[in-house]
């Protein structure tokens, strides 16, 4: 029951991130998705090393979100090659 609720929320967040229009909106959905992945890993493994993997994957995904948001501020609009 718990894994099913978590899985439905994760797939919903992934679809909303795909069809979002704005870029900062997409970052917020990605963060909710990484919360869900970390919860799913801990619910599936159920041992202390599972908790360590969940914590590590969440912290590293937060670091990459930090880098993406910083470079979103650096380059507001990108120049595309036609």
């Amino acid at each position: 029951m718990l894994i099913e609720i978590t899985g439905i929320i994760i797939v919903l967040m992934a679809l909303r991130a795909l069809i979002a229009r704005d870029r900062s909106e997409r970052m917020l959905y990605l963060n909710a998705l990484s919360f869900g992945m970390s919860a799913l890993i801990a619910l599936y493994i159920q041992s202390p090393f599972g908790a360590i993997i969940a914590i590590t994957s969440f912290v590293t995904s937060t670091i990459s979100s930090n880098a993406i948001a910083y470079s979103m501020g650096r380059t507001p609009e990108e120049i595309l090659i036609k």
């Binding site: 991130a17 990605l30 990484s34 799913l40 994957s57 995904s61 990459s64 993406i68 470079s71």
Partner: protein
């Protein structure tokens, strides 16, 4: 029942497929990098579903490094293109 179909393998595969579709469909480079972050999350889930926990640890540690390298390339090439277009407007040379 359809609810028996939801477990960690199918959810991780679905997240990876949605991330790959986003990488192909969205036009801007930073959008592509955001969807690449989603694909990394699904990939770690797929490894954990096979119970290869050490591989999952290494994948979780090396993911932000690849993201940062891609972002450095995007920011740098954007700066170069901006300089080039400014020079073309001012001096009218290639």
């Amino acid at each position: 029942m359809a609810i028996d179909f939801i477990n960690i393998s199918t959810v991780s595969a679905a997240v990876s497929l949605i991330g790959a579709a986003g990488i192909i469909l969205l036009p801007k480079p930073i959008d592509k990098v955001i969807m690449f972050g989603m694909l990394q999350g699904g990939f770690i889930g797929m490894i954990v579903a096979g119970k290869y926990l050490d591989v999952a640890m290494v994948a979780a540690l090396f993911d932000p490094i690849s993201t940062v390298i891609l972002l450095i390339a995007i920011v740098k090439i954007n700066d170069v293109r901006k300089e080039k277009s400014k020079a073309q407007e001012e001096l009218d040379i290639a």
